[in-house]
């Protein structure tokens, strides 16, 4: 086993897909000469040249539309957003131009494109740069929405996203970029975009999470086991659209309890959807009400103490899990 950072997993996935398919290219702000604002495209310009690693001006609406047009024209663009906060300027092209066209055209015109970049709260940067957009995109038919936690998932899912014939929103996390994770030996092949991964098996409570929240969930599960003898099953959702309902339902049938963790806001969040899935499909298996831990329904504050209060953390997960397990 060798270690690989999340950022290099992203870079390697892009490089390997660009070697495999000449129609794959990368575009976005600072992806070329600067090597990526978060160095997720290091050395790509050197290997592939500026026709395939395209530095754009700071114009999210415009270059996202150009990416969609290139996809209509037969290419497979990877559009990098410096952060998904800036993609709000481009959300019209993501939803109206990319997601809806296959349907609006009766299957005539598809849009093979990946929209990727950091999402969620990178800490200390206040409201306009700290937001999780998972539930925004997960709401939209025509989009596939995935958010990996570790390097293997990042690489395998990004390869699958690039090969997919439809638009994929690929949500990364700035805090994860610098973290190293063990990688399996040998080549990494694409994995299913729509399947959750059981990170830790358990019998008392199901904890669902994605992206960096998986890390918090895993740490909390360890504390719950060693200090309180609570056996938590951690389900890494991977896909936010579609949500792997089956994986969640099967887990809840086993544990009877569910707690979702996310960095998005509480209202109309991924946790709201998971609660509905469980109530509609596994109501009789529930021993208590489904619970959610999310970011407080406020724009992210700058002050560190307030930011800590707003965000989910390991302690909040442990305390909530204990309470619903009647400890």
């Amino acid at each position: 086993m060798s270690n690989l950072s999340f950022r290099l997993a992203i870079r390697d996935a892009i490089a390997e897909e660009m070697r495999r398919d000449p129609n794959v290219f990368l575009m976005g702000e600072e992806v070329g000469q600067y090597q990526g604002a978060y160095k997720a495209s290091q050395d790509l310009l050197k290997e592939f040249g500026d026709e395939r690693v395209i530095d754009t001006p700071i114009v999210e609406y415009g270059f996202t539309g150009i990416g969609v047009g290139a996809a209509f024209g037969g290419l497979r663009p990877i559009v990098e957003f410096m952060t998904f906060n800036f993609a709000m300027q481009a959300i019209d092209h993501i939803v109206n131009s990319a997601a809806k066209t296959l349907y609006m055209s009766g299957g005539e015109l598809n849009c093979p494109i990946v929209f990727r970049g950091p999402n969620g709260a990178p800490r200390n940067v206040a409201a306009q740069h700290s937001q999780c957009f998972a539930s925004w995109y997960a709401h939209c038919p025509g989009l596939k929405v995935v958010s990996p936690y570790n390097s293997f998932e990042a690489k395998a899912l990004l390869k699958a996203a690039i090969r997919d014939d439809n638009p994929v929103v690929f949500l990364e996390h700035e805090i994860l970029y610098g973290k190293s994770f063990e990688m399996p030996e040998g080549a990494v092949e694409p994995i299913a975009l729509d399947k959750a991964i059981i990170m830790r098996s358990g019998s008392d409570i199901t904890i669902t999470a994605f992206s960096i929240s998986v890390e918090h969930a895993m740490q909390a599960a360890e504390i719950l086991q060693t200090q309180y003898d609570i056996s938590a099953e951690v389900v890494n959702l991977i896909s936010l659209r579609p949500i792997d309902k089956n994986a969640i339902i099967e887990s809840v049938k086993k544990t009877g309890r569910i707690l979702n963790i996310e960095e998005g806001w509480l209202s109309c969040g991924i946790g709201s959807e998971i609660t509905s899935v469980v109530v509609e499909n596994a109501f009789d298996y529930l021993d208590c009400e489904p619970r959610r831990i999310a970011t407080a329904d406020v724009p992210m504050p700058y002050a560190k103490n307030l930011e800590n209060l707003a965000l989910p953390n390991v302690d909040k997960i442990v305390q909530t899990a204990k309470s619903i397990c009647n400890l």
């Binding site: 290219f25 026709e51 395209i54 754009t56 001006p57 114009v59 609406y61 415009g62 270059f63 996202t64 539309g65 150009i66 990416g67 969609v68 047009g69 290139a70 996809a71 209509f72 024209g73 037969g74 290419l75 019209d92 092209h93 109206n96 131009s97 997601a99 066209t101 296959l102 349907y103 609006m104 055209s105 009766g106 299957g107 005539e108 015109l109 038919p141 025509g142 989009l143 596939k144 439809n166 638009p167 729509d194 659209r241 579609p242």
Partner: protein, 324 residues
């Protein structure tokens, strides 16, 4: 503009295309009134010379994208009028299987990429099509149509900037029909030249063309398109045109006078202009014109009949053709 560079067969073909566009759209309006077509529906009547003229300077690998006023682009590029009319009637035999309607029509075979209901959004997408031509080195040009309303959208200028910066093969076609819904150009576009020099800051040349004269469209766009195809970067073709009907069928167009509309119809009509050329300068008999008119009427009658008689989409189509 002179007709002398055109031979009889070409002029007859132009007349036939213009007439088909006119009669097709008139029938669309009638079917709307009868309730066969519904929702938003924007007619192209008055502007026919723009797409008809430009199509004469296109090559098979070129791509085309426009706004929601798209029916005539489809049929001029060769898509079956039956499929377009059936789409307008919301039928399964429509070019988008009844799921797109008036504003969302596409044909990969004819390299037509919509049909876009979001004002201005087609412009960066058109630049992306240009990027794909340059990337694939296929010698293609992207013809990106937009109106005077869209011409004030921020994303249009983002698209101009990148198209020029990267020297992409894009022909921007500004179909200035004078009114963005009810707002005239002078009420929406700042600067003494209005929309006539909006490419200047980006180093994009604007060529002024009489968009109601198909000969002017063909002749004045030809060299510009060749330069774009040759790798010199984008150009803007500013088409001075006019729409006879409201913005959409539900718009009574009370923001302009009847005299204004009648005057344009009388003096600049793109279909009559070519018809007059045929009669006066090519001296063809009136019966030749009647023959074309009758052929066009047959096509449109057949399209309307086909569309009305076609089946609506089956219920199972509801969840088809969407990812997941």
């Amino acid at each position: 503009m002179t007709f002398k560079e055109f031979d009889l067969e070409t002029v007859k073909k132009l007349y036939r295309q213009l007439k088909l566009a006119r009669v097709f759209e008139e029938r669309v309006g009638a079917l709307y009134t009868q309730g066969h077509i519904y929702g938003f529906c924007h007619l192209y009547i008055g502007q026919e010379a723009v797409i008809v003229g430009l199509s004469h300077n296109m090559q098979s690998q070129d791509s085309v994208i426009t706004s929601y006023r798209d029916h005539v682009h489809m049929i001029t590029l060769g898509v079956s009028p039956n499929a377009v009319m059936a789409e307008l009637c919301g039928k399964a035999a429509g070019c988008s299987k009844g799921k797109g309607g008036s504003m969302h029509m596409y044909s990969k075979e004819h390299r037509f990429y919509g049909g876009n209901g979001i004002v201005g959004a087609q412009v960066p997408i058109g630049v992306g099509l240009g990027l794909s031509h340059k990337y694939k080195k296929d010698g293609g040009v992207s013809f990106t149509f937009y109106g005077d309303g869209a011409a004030n959208q921020g994303q249009v200028y983002e698209a101009f900037n990148m198209a020029s910066l990267w020297k992409l093969p894009v022909v921007f076609v500004l179909e200035n029909n004078r009114y963005a819904l009810g707002t005239s150009e002078s009420r929406a576009a700042a600067g003494k030249n209005g929309l006539k020099n909006r490419g200047d800051p980006f180093g994009i040349e604007t060529i002024l063309i009489d968009g109601m004269d198909v000969f002017d469209v063909i002749v004045k766009s030809k060299k510009a398109i060749e330069r774009v195809r040759g790798g010199e970067g984008p150009v803007i073709l500013h088409m001075d045109t006019y729409r006879y009907r409201g913005h959409s069928i539900s718009d009574p167009a009370t923001y302009r006078t009847r005299e204004e509309v009648e005057n344009v119809k009388k003096t600049r009509d793109p279909v009559s202009r070519v018809k007059n050329e045929l009669i006066k300068n090519f001296a063809i008999p009136e019966t030749d014109i009647t023959e074309i008119d009758s052929e066009v009427a047959d096509i449109v009658n057949a399209a309307a009949e086909f569309a009305i008689k076609s089946e609506v989409p089956e219920a199972a189509a509801l969840e088809r053709d969407v990812a997941l």
